[in-house]
Symmetry: C2
Subunit: 149 residues, 2 copies
Amino acid sequence: MAARATPGQRTSPAAEAWSLMYELLGAYGRRRVVAVASELELSPPQVMALKMLEPGRPVPMRELARALHCDNSNVTGIADRLEDRGLVERRGADHDRRVKLLCLTPEGEDLRERLWELLSRPPEPLGRLAPADQRALRDIMRRALRASG
Amino acid sequence: MAARATPGQRTSPAAEAWSLMYELLGAYGRRRVVAVASELELSPPQVMALKMLEPGRPVPMRELARALHCDNSNVTGIADRLEDRGLVERRGADHDRRVKLLCLTPEGEDLRERLWELLSRPPEPLGRLAPADQRALRDIMRRALRASG
DNA sequence: TATTGTTATACTCTATAACTATA
DNA sequence: TATAGTTATAGAGTATAACAATA
């Protein structure tokens, strides 16, 4: 959509690629997060929080706040609701009694596995690409993100 | 981030490409919308609404609702706040007196132009790619989205 | 003094349902 | 009857500021 509204001849290849990617993600990325969230009866931020919580690796709440690009105070409420549903637990950290760690419950691990599978399946337009295009796309994306952290 | 947490050898090229794209967009796409919104003192949905409103092409509110993937009733509030700031106007439609059309004011057009420029600039990782990679990426994305509507 | 997490507050988004005025 | 937009309501996200406990 972005690409179509901008005159094609003025845009650089990178800019056009970007707006096409934006279009793909607008159509399949965010919409998918919302769809997955609704299917699992979660909110989008709750989905992103669960996505961050790898099994067996408790995460300080402030780290979650940074990952979600939001204030610490928001994580309190998000964690509250996940805890109410029995998906995560708060635990104290040994080395610093101010810190609280979030970790998945067994139910949380199960839900996260379903969530992960739903999110990581590539969307139709990519799946339809010729295998050579798929590999080329992967390689270009690897090069783009290689040095960016 | 998505790619890293999934074992590389199990993922197909399309799936890995997808998660790398997801990573790029997570880092630069949504964050950029939020940053642009905050710079222009708008909310993200307001940004998306302005993005949809091409100058000289009034849009029925229900169409905006569909484009934003939200209920009609939400558009009322979003349009209210844009109208309060003098960026859009409501106008009646000739053929159907139930319909209200949103159109940009001159101020809205100016703001939309700045907005569009901020959003369409490709992110660093794409800009750093070799020109041949940029063109290849653009061509693959064109092929992927060509038949998808 | 600075940091972690919480609480309180205010604003926005979002869906649902009920309403109006049209069609 | 169905549709476009509004209103009312409720739940969630978000930022800011103030706070307690800890470092």
